[in-house]
């Protein structure tokens, strides 16, 4: 069937959908969601000449008339030679081979490397639709992936995008997440980089948490860089703390994550390849994985975390990455601050003044940095954390951080007290004396998000008293910041209705 291009001046975020009039769709025997093969007879570029699209149908005759094919701006951007009234040849497309391999996983069978390569390349080309991928993710969740499959997937995903080469020995750290206030990367990267090791830290923005490393770093310096800018930064600083989203690394993984997220599914079989592929893309050779363990994280018990660590290390080894894993406490936030601005402030304060603490941030950051220093031969086995603390205490980590901030286009002279917060605030006080038996991470996250995190950098929460602290009636225990009075109100409501995140107990366990 020959159809004339009609540009639809609208961007859907989906580079695959084209629109046919219902009459033509019926003639073609196709329904919405079906794949169609498109051939552009007038194009010389092979990528613009043949492509596979997913069909949408205009039932209304209002936009796409019979004889036309509606093309969104997304496709026009990808295929700039497409022009209105150009004639495209359209026919129904069989599902790609990779569709059969998804069916194979649904039926519970193991996939070969070639089959996984196929799924990955068709994910990127768009031959697999979102519902195909939702079925794949569900099948992996239920039927799992073995070590070979995960290794193949990590390799295939990294090959689907750009791969950087920052030299033969590239270091990194990563966290499986789930603990609020985990701004340790802002401390670890400058410590490690100060010794001359290469550590190009690329992170995500927060997805479900109040602040990701990229969100907090963005308070101090820009974080969105394309490939060339990143190369310049890392070549001068042997480090960076950036957002990975502007790089074209592992697009297949990004597409899968976009579907896993609304499905609330993060199967191990996809999670491990997802972490590892991003490291492969940045040429990482040595990695410490922080695995927070406990309620609210991905691993409820140390046993779960340990099992995961063994599998992770093996898949990493299979692709040429030496990984060590650190199971870490996750029963309460790291440090006192949660939210982009507050976390940046807490990290910057510690970098400038070791004595400012907080201890949990010092201990966790230097634990992990210490392992990296040992892996890099900067410290002997068991001496890494001591060295990391020295570098932090000496101000060398702060000097390195200033230098990274400058290289990324931020202001290296920024002082912690200059970081904007609020302006709306609300403080909470202890209503009785006692001691803190716990801090509830889930309530912390809920309140922090209610204040406007992570989109609003100036919003967040401060926790003044943590587990084990003794308090008097009237002590300041908690404070919230927001750019909007109504959000303060909403956060306050959560505090009041849940009883707040700071759990106060007497000494009595039970009254009988």
């Amino acid at each position: 069937m020959k159809l004339k291009v009609k540009t639809i001046n609208f961007e859907t975020g989906n580079t695959k959908d084209v629109v046919l009039n219902i009459k033509d769709a019926l003639k073609l025997g196709q329904k919405a969601g079906d794949r169609i093969n498109i051939k552009n007879l007038e194009s010389k570029n092979i990528e613009e000449k043949y492509w596979i699209a997913i069909l949408q149908i205009d039932y209304s005759n209002s936009i796409v008339k019979p004889g036309e094919i509606g093309v969104f701006l997304d496709i026009i951007k990808e295929k700039p030679s497409l022009k209105d009234n150009m004639v495209l040849s359209v026919k129904s497309a069989d599902p790609p081979d990779s569709f059969k391999f998804i069916q194979k996983k649904i039926r519970g069978s193991k996939l070969t490397t070639e089959e996984i390569n196929n799924i990955v390349s068709d994910t990127v080309s768009g031959s697999l639709s979102k519902i195909d991928l939702a079925a794949f993710i569900t099948a992996v969740f239920i039927n799992g992936m073995d070590h070979e499959e995960m290794t193949s997937l990590a390799n295939a995903e990294s090959r689907s995008g750009e791969i950087f080469n920052f030299g033969p020995d590239v270091y990194d750290k990563h966290s499986t997440g789930g603990v609020p206030g985990n701004k340790v990367s802002l401390i670890i990267v400058p410590i490690v980089a100060a010794t001359g090791l290469t550590i190009p830290k690329s992170s995500t923005r927060a997805i479900t948490s109040p602040s990701g490393t990229a969100d907090s770093m963005e308070v101090l310096a820009p974080v969105a860089f394309e490939a060339d800018a990143l190369k310049t930064i890392v070549s001068t600083e042997n480090a960076c703390i950036i957002w990975g989203g502007a790089l074209n690394t592992s697009p297949a993984d990004n597409i899968l994550i976009e579907i896993e997220r609304p499905l609330h599914m993060d199967p191990i079989g996809l999670m491990i390849p997802s972490i590892i592929t991003k490291k492969l893309s940045l040429g990482v050779k040595k990695l410490v994985l922080d695995i927070p363990v406990g309620e609210g994280t991905k691993f409820t018990t140390p046993h779960d975390g340990k099992q995961f660590a063994y599998v992770f290390k093996e898949i990493a080894r299979n692709v040429g990455i030496k990984a060590e894993c650190a199971l870490t406490l996750a029963h309460q936030p790291i440090g006192h601050a949660v939210g982009p601005g507050l976390e940046a402030k807490e990290a910057l304060t510690l970098l400038m003044d070791y004595s400012a603490g907080p201890n949990s941030l010092i201990e966790k950051s230097t634990d992990i940095a210490g392992i990296l220093l040992e892996m890099g031969g900067k410290a002997q086995k068991g001496m890494g954390q001591k060295l990391a603390k020295e570098i932090l205490r000496s101000g060398k980590a702060y000097e390195k951080m200033r230098s990274i901030i400058k290289a990324q286009g931020g202001n290296p002279e920024l002082k912690p007290e200059e970081i904007k917060l609020g302006p709306y605030k609300k403080e909470f006080f202890a209503t009785k004396p006692g001691h803190i038996t716990g801090v509830n991470n889930a309530i912390i996250n809920q309140i922090a998000k209610a204040t406007g995190c992570p989109h609003s950098k100036q919003s967040g929460v401060e926790i003044f008293k943590k587990q084990g602290a003794r308090i008097k009636e009237g002590d300041l225990i908690f404070k919230i910041y927001s750019e909007s009075q109504s959000k303060i109100k909403r956060a306050e409501n959560i505090y009041n209705s849940t009883g707040g995140p700071i759990i106060l107990g007497g000494m009595m366990i039970e009254r009988i």
Copy 2:
């Protein structure tokens, strides 16, 4: 967040998508595919006041500007009070409870009736997205549904739409499909209806086959009717042969099918409720299920078909339908004709003249009609087929069919030879003598679709020699019809490259 309505003059076929500018989506902390709660402060109608939509994002600023919410024509049709510049209040929505129940099925647990009701109502309301439903379908495929779950699903699906009441004793037949040329409903319905039993036959159009019952019937009379018109037809004729698509029966099932189809998944756990819910919607009390068995059908072996039959009968009984199942041969087409016009012609010819045959069509149709006549007390056990043949031979079935055609607005005087075919044709002849060892259904389907079926009613194939026939060199064995010479050519190419569907053998089995 308050946003102004901006109508997007475009119909997507999806009544749930709304569009936000990327800036507002970021502020709201939402991504494409997320659910959002919408509140229309100006609306008094409760259904138009609160709704859940799925978010699309305009990254281009070209259509939906910050402060606006883009609404497609689909939603405007559903909620006619929506006007440009009306202010809607928008906030992020938690996944509905039904989302948790889908997760429960993914984890392999049995769902309660209430949980299934929830999934069904959220499917219809649109609170569950396509990828949620793809995950659900995949989970049912892998983890299955037990009898109680299937019963609950069938009930919930039928309650999701209109339910007809054509009296206390309503009969029907259904086929699980997979055999070409299966025009038996065009014979069975008039036979059964001629005895006074009520049989409101609603069918689908062909999805993957060359012709569905509705496609073939449409050659003889209109088949698309809304509820009131259907009631009138059945009240006068106690029968009909219509397309179910214009009725609002079991919309939940229709939505699931729209996702199962491109996924090529038809799990038993959804297939049985899908068949049964459509019967519940039409008030059917007694049903014969035709289960074709063999290569190319859903049931490769009689054992598979039998297992399915037992489960089907039980689920039917659970919802108050008495079902009998007939395992039928599916090794070659029923009759000689495949394609809407050719099948209508073959059926009409038989109705007018019993001696015209073909035998396979007479035998299968009267087998199934006979069971219905026995269930309806019109014939004693074992005597149903005999009575069915008498009714067919006597011309009473033809009289009833004329009456149904007239009631549906067709021409009851239409003669078989007046049914338009072609005009392009091509005949194929035996290249050597021998006997026919088989007819390949898959090749028949492929060729029939290449000629233009099911969209083109005049296209299709005729099979002159079937299994067991002895032939001479030069005998006419196969003929194709199409509205287009290029489609004839394409069908011919398939014939030549596959060797054709008619398999000719000598007496020798093997040469050693």
